[in-house]
Point group: C2
Chain length 264, copies 2
């Protein structure tokens, strides 16, 4: 369990203070936080809360969405929030196409340009930008970066430690070329996240992910690939699932830990 | 309109005889048929119906599903059905993982092996097997062949004309490497199908496709890539959409033709 980190979205409706208490009581010492609940509780209060509880914040989720107006200011704020939380990794979800656009190549180039603009601010704050390739089913409306290759091509334009890539089993499991490339990515692996693929997908395809072990992802092969990079950092379980969210937070945490232990 | 082919699934609830009449009255001379409605009306009767109406059957959709028991016999029957309909192209959707399996690499190898077993029968019948890479969101439950590369790697183990690949804009639009590879695929393009990507996706993600022009796919780039191969064959519009299906067949056909003409 030494590498386990509980990603806050897995218990979306669990209040931050209750979650921190629940994690500590379960002996969990790592958490990934989301910007919205942190903002709601207050950035400084959240930072104090997790610090006083002895929790390491493995990532702040999430910034990016470079197709939106005001993306630059918002991403700069996200970097500052990560630094305030003493988080070393800010997860970036690139955003989709602008309303009415058919220019996905242009949108992808814009993502690369936008990240280049953010790097100096992130580097100064000591925050690694972790580009997350999302499953191709999100290409239109959520994230135009859909493969390991695309994320790496952007990351490699910048020094190691300033820009990395998020390995998320849910988004990459289908890609027959991904494991070999992950294994060769060395220090570019910024964070490693687990979720399983279950079907049928729900409407909107956002909230139908499975706990590790509940689906068809060959987690063992992912672990081997990630291990080959030398990455020994935290392993987050990040599951968005409407049914799971209906359970009490402590029950979700218990199930998440059980899922994690079933495959690690 | 000389290359336009109406794929039967686009008007799922339109009776075969009515559809044939509607196509002829609209001056459409090509149709793609589906196995289930053909079987329901009777194979020989269906063949006579389309032949007497002067319709060319551009593809028979669809066979494959190699994870299922009895796949070999079923696929041989599908080849015979294609030949009986005087169709030169049988579309293959590979099928997903077996219940409970996490071995997608093994499933993919099985698809390659299964197709190799079918090729002699297809070649003898004069039917091209058109492997269709389906969007990665179908990898678990519908089709483990998810990229142009995967389909081509299987096709290229066999002579041109015996095994080819289906270009379907809906399944390939997100892939930044696909267009260049399609353009270089020469005679491996067995059929070209249009559908557009619209969001949000419905539950099950099967019946939320858009008519050409209604979504975010850059169809012009696809046309250019396909043109570079030398492919001058039929262009099918194949849309599965629950709302569209509720309309009368003639209205669906009119909308389909309008969508086709908006982008061709």
């Amino acid at each position: 369990m030494s590498r386990f980190s509980f990603n806050q979205i897995t218990a979306k409706h669990w209040e931050l203070t209750d979650m921190v208490k629940g994690l500590v009581e379960s002996g969990v010492d790592k958490v990934a936080l989301w910007r919205e609940p942190v903002a709601e509780y207050g950035l400084e209060r959240s930072a104090a809360l997790v610090r006083d509880a002895g929790l390491e914040v493995t990532t702040l989720c999430r910034s990016g969405f470079f197709q939106a107006d005001g993306w630059l200011d918002d991403n700069r704020r996200a970097i500052d929030e990560a630094a305030a939380l003493n988080t070393k990794v800010l997860v970036l979800v690139s955003g989709g196409l602008k309303e009415g656009s058919k220019d996905i190549a242009g949108a992808r180039q814009h993502v690369a340009d936008a990240i280049a603009q953010l790097v100096p601010h992130a580097a100064a704050a000591g925050v690694t930008l972790a580009i997350e390739p999302l499953h191709p089913m999100y290409a239109a409306d959520r994230c135009v970066i859909n493969t390991w290759d695309q994320a790496m091509a952007i990351a490699e334009q910048h020094p190691v430690g300033q820009v990395g890539v998020t390995v998320d089993t849910y988004h990459l499991w289908w890609d027959d070329t991904a494991l070999e490339k992950i294994a060769a990515a060395g220090e570019r692996v910024a964070i490693y996240q687990l979720a399983d693929w279950i079907t049928p997908l729900p409407a909107g395809v956002l909230t139908g992910r499975g706990l590790p072990g509940d689906g068809c992802v060959d987690m063992r092969s992912f672990h081997e690939a990630v291990a080959k990079t030398g990455y020994t950092g935290p392993i987050e379980v990040e599951v968005m699932n409407e049914e799971l969210w209906q359970l009490p937070g402590r029950e979700i945490l218990a199930k998440t830990i059980a899922g994690y232990q079933s495959i690690i």
